[in-house]
């Protein structure tokens, strides 16, 4: 209990102390408010621009959900496809690694040309950066099945489908969840980058507010975007806990 109090209480104390110090430093003009607005101003923007900010956040959340959802479904299916056919694996796996290194910021303008302004370009941008960690981690999970268990399935004459469903897929779950954790954060970043150019959502607000030198609004928007990322990652953590709590040491079955 005491430990729990420390774990929650201490970060809150540190947060309050830092915010107070920051506010104080800004008030007595140690910090230029055009570079770093004081916390009360950011709060003010959060309240004053709340309709605009929250509806933009809704748009961003929508795009992130679609791109992350696509990444999960297509990423896992692609990994299974790569896993089931050695030919496909050798032919395409090097490219999945290559695509992972493509800088999204550089191709975002192209996405706008291909998909037009608005949500489709944003979804594409979020999807492109978040799908590869899912493919890579799922494939790693599928390939790291225990050799003795593979022998066991062969001994009982399991079909490839049975082995996939009863051995490879469940065994890869901890790897998949790790991949999703990375992918979720990237989906938010990818979507915001897309929105810079796509002209919608929180990314667009950041872009416009920056141009208007409304640094407080930029910060308010960034805060909301981070909150969105955090929420997504917490949801993934929760899913991971529910799925793995009984059997995987990373979720505390060792107690």
């Amino acid at each position: 209990m005491n430990q729990k109090l420390k774990k929650i209480g201490l970060p809150i104390c540190a947060f309050v102390a830092m915010i107070t110090l920051w506010e104080f430093a800004a008030r007595i003009k140690w910090i230029n408010p055009f570079i770093l607005p004081e916390p009360s101003q950011i709060l003010n923007s959060l309240i004053q621009d709340k309709v605009e900010l929250w509806s933009a956040l809704g748009v961003t959340a929508f795009s992130v959900t679609i791109s992350f959802g696509l990444s999960v479904v297509l990423g896992i299916s692609t990994a299974i496809l790569l896993f089931t056919s050695e030919t496909v694996l050798y032919a395409f796996y090097p490219y999945t690694i290559f695509f992972q290194t493509v800088p999204i910021i550089a191709i975002a303008p192209l996405l706008v040309i291909w998909f037009g302004y608005g949500i489709p370009a944003v979804v594409a941008s979020g999807f492109i950066v978040s799908v590869f960690p899912v493919i890579a981690s799922t494939l790693t999970g599928l390939l790291s099945a225990d050799p003795a268990l593979k022998d066991l399935f062969r001994l009982y004459g399991a079909t490839r489908m049975q082995a996939l469903v009863k051995l490879y897929l469940p065994g890869s779950l901890p790897f998949v969840m790790n991949g999703l954790r990375i992918s979720g954060g990237l989906a938010v970043i990818g979507a915001i980058v897309g929105e810079f150019l796509g002209g919608v959502g929180i990314g667009s607000i950041i872009d416009v507010a920056r141009a208007q030198q409304r640094i407080d609004k930029v910060f308010a928007a960034v805060l909301l975007a981070s909150g969105l990322g955090l929420l997504l990652i917490k949801l993934i953590d929760l899913t991971s806990y529910v799925l793995l709590k009984n059997w995987h040491p990373s979720e505390g079955s060792e107690e």
Binding site: D151, L155, K166, W247, S253
Partner: protein, 251 residues
Amino acid sequence: MATGLSVQISEVVKRYDSGLSPLKGVSFQLEAGKFLALIGPSGCGKSTLLKMIAHLREPTSGKLLIGRGEPEERRLAYVFQDAQLLPWRTVLGNVTLPLEILGASKVEQELKARKALERVGLIDFEQYYPAHLSGGMRMRVSLARSLVNEPNLLLLDEPFAALDEVTRLKLDRDLRDLWQESQMTVIFVTHSISEAAFLSDRIILLSKKTGNIQYDLINPLPSHRTQETRALPAFAQLTQDLFLKFQDLEA
């Protein structure tokens, strides 16, 4: 209950790509329903031989005939050194696995799995996950899984090596009893001379140096084995005899 399968091995050679050749022409015949203990120093090829008998590995040359060689009559089970359970399945789910793969009905799966769990004394733990069991209990689950399809050839590769001695002696007795209730053939790989002596009808000692059988003997102990068997002079003599043969190998 089905009769066990005989095993005929002739001139089996296994050479790995590394050039290493642990088995250089091993031959023996095992009658149906016997309990064979396979012992030998580490690296002499015991696991390799067992996997070839299970058709999990191919011999480089030579022949292995299991029963009459018909795939349909073969009902094998294999127990590994560590329990090798599926951690995402409950105890019951692990034990039903072989039947599930073979396509048995749900009712039959659970009926037989519960019977197997009862035989290894774990019926109260069917909803537990492997992570919440002790090493000995996990091994029992593994044993129950291997019994659930009523195998006619049971292969065990140092199954109890990682357990504490009391648990191991208990499991040895249980295994011997289980075998006597059935008619299955058992091949049991172990490092332990006294375990081999206690369990088997027959003991084969493999040599690492020659890559062949060094010693092949019929176990002279009475077929009904209890804890007291270990105190018999015949038991002491057998283990001493095996120990000396083993020592010759290492020299």
